[in-house]
Symmetry: C2
Subunit: 262 residues, 2 copies
Amino acid sequence: MISVTLLGAGNVATHMFKAFSEAKGVEVKQWYNRTYSSISSYKNEVDIIDDLKQLKNADLYIIAVSDDCISSLSEALPFKNRLVAHTSGSVNIHDLDKKNNRAVFYPLQTFSKNTVLNFSEVPICIEVLEKENLKLLKSIAKALDCKTYKVNTEQRQTLHLAAVYINNFTNQLYRIAHEISDAQHLNFDILKPLILETAKKVQTISPYMAQTGPAKRNDKKTIKRHLKQIDNKEHKAIYELLTNSIKKTHGVPFSKSNPSKN
Amino acid sequence: MISVTLLGAGNVATHMFKAFSEAKGVEVKQWYNRTYSSISSYKNEVDIIDDLKQLKNADLYIIAVSDDCISSLSEALPFKNRLVAHTSGSVNIHDLDKKNNRAVFYPLQTFSKNTVLNFSEVPICIEVLEKENLKLLKSIAKALDCKTYKVNTEQRQTLHLAAVYINNFTNQLYRIAHEISDAQHLNFDILKPLILETAKKVQTISPYMAQTGPAKRNDKKTIKRHLKQIDNKEHKAIYELLTNSIKKTHGVPFSKSNPSKN
C-alpha cells in the first residue's frame, strides 16, 4: 500500500483527497492544513493535522497550496530525503526545498468546489529531478486511473499557458456571449448545446479541421454586419482580433474590408 | 402526418434529413438539390429531385442552402401561399419571396459532415411572419425532440453573433493552444479533458461564476511570465486583450503592470 500525505485545503487538495479515498493501492496517511477547521469535516475519514511536527512517514507528500506558498511550506517541512511534490502548473520544481526529493504532480484540469469531477479523466503531468521517483508517481496516478505524461519544466509551463487560452479565455468568450444574449433578453440556455458541441468536436478532429464560420470562409458581408451589431468596444476588439487570427490560420486573404483596418 | 420537403444538400440539410427520417409524425416528402448527385445516395429513402417543377405539395418547405442563395431559391419556387422557411441565423426573413408564407427554422448548432450529432440536443429558433404558422413549426421541432425558442429577427441575429464567439472564436483559442503545445512537442490530448470540462462547467453555472485563473485573481507574476513565454505577436495580443477583458468583468483593478500598457 502506497501512503500519501496531502498538504493544503483548496480545490485541488479536496478533489485529490476524494479521488485517493476511492483508489485502490493508495491510502491518504494524513491531511495537513494550517487552518484545522477548513478540513475538519473529514476527520472521521483521515488523520487531520494542523501542525507540521505531527507529520508521519509517507511515501509521498503532495503540496497542493497556492503558488506563492509552495516554497515556504516545503522549507518548513521537518524532515529530509523524502519525496515531496507540488501540484502547480507554473511553479519551478527547484522552488521546492532541496532537503527533500523533489517532484511535480500537476493535474491539468479546472477544479471547482461544487463541481463533481471524474478524476480518472484528469491527465497528470509528472516531473522529477531523480529518475527513480518516476515509477512511484506513475503508480499513484495509475491508482487514480489517470493518464500520465512525463514533462519537463518548460513543457509544464507551456501547458499552463495553453490552459489559460482554452479555459480562462474560452470561458471569457462564453461570458461575452452571455452579455450579448442577455442584452437581447435571450435565454443563455439556447447557446449551451453549441458550447458543448464545440468542445466535443475537437476531441476527435483538430481545431484546424473543426473551424467554420464567416472568418474562415471570408464572408465579408456577415463580418461587416456583426461588427455593426456590436456596441461594446472591447467586444468589437475581440471580434476583430480573433477574426483576423482565424483568417491568418486558414490563409484567407486580408482585403480592404479587413476589420482590423476599420 | 406532417410533410416536409428539404431544399439543399449541405450539412444542415443532411443532418435534418437524418433526424426527420427517425422522427415520428413527420415525413420528408421530397429532397431537392440542383445537383442530383450530391444527394443521390439517399434515393432509396426519399424522392430525390433536381428540378423545382417536380416539387409536390408539402406542409413545409425548408430552404437549407448557403445564405447568399436563399433569396433567389425562394423566388424560383413555382408555387405560392405555402409555408417556406429558411434555416439561417443571419438572413432576414423578408429575404424570402413574399409570394409564400415566410418563416425561419434556425437550428443553433455546429454541423459537420462526419460528426454524429444527437439532433434532439439542437435548439430550434423559430421566427414567423404569420402567427398561425408557429404551431406547425413547433410541432415539427417537437417531432425531432428539439427545444424551441420563438425569437424575432434581431434576437436571431444576436444569437448568430454570440455563436461566433462561443464556436468560431473558442475554436480558434483551441487552435492557438494546439500551436503553443505543438511547439514544445506536447501531445494535444493532454489538453482535451480541460476543453471538455470548461464547456461542461457552464452548463450548470454561469460563465461569470465559472471563471478562474491569473487574470481573475490579478496574479501579476503569472501574467508577466506568460507574456514572456509567448513568442507569437498575435497570440500575445489575444492574451492581453482577453486578460484585460476578464479583469474588467471581475472588477480587477488595472495596475502599472497592466499588460496592455507593456
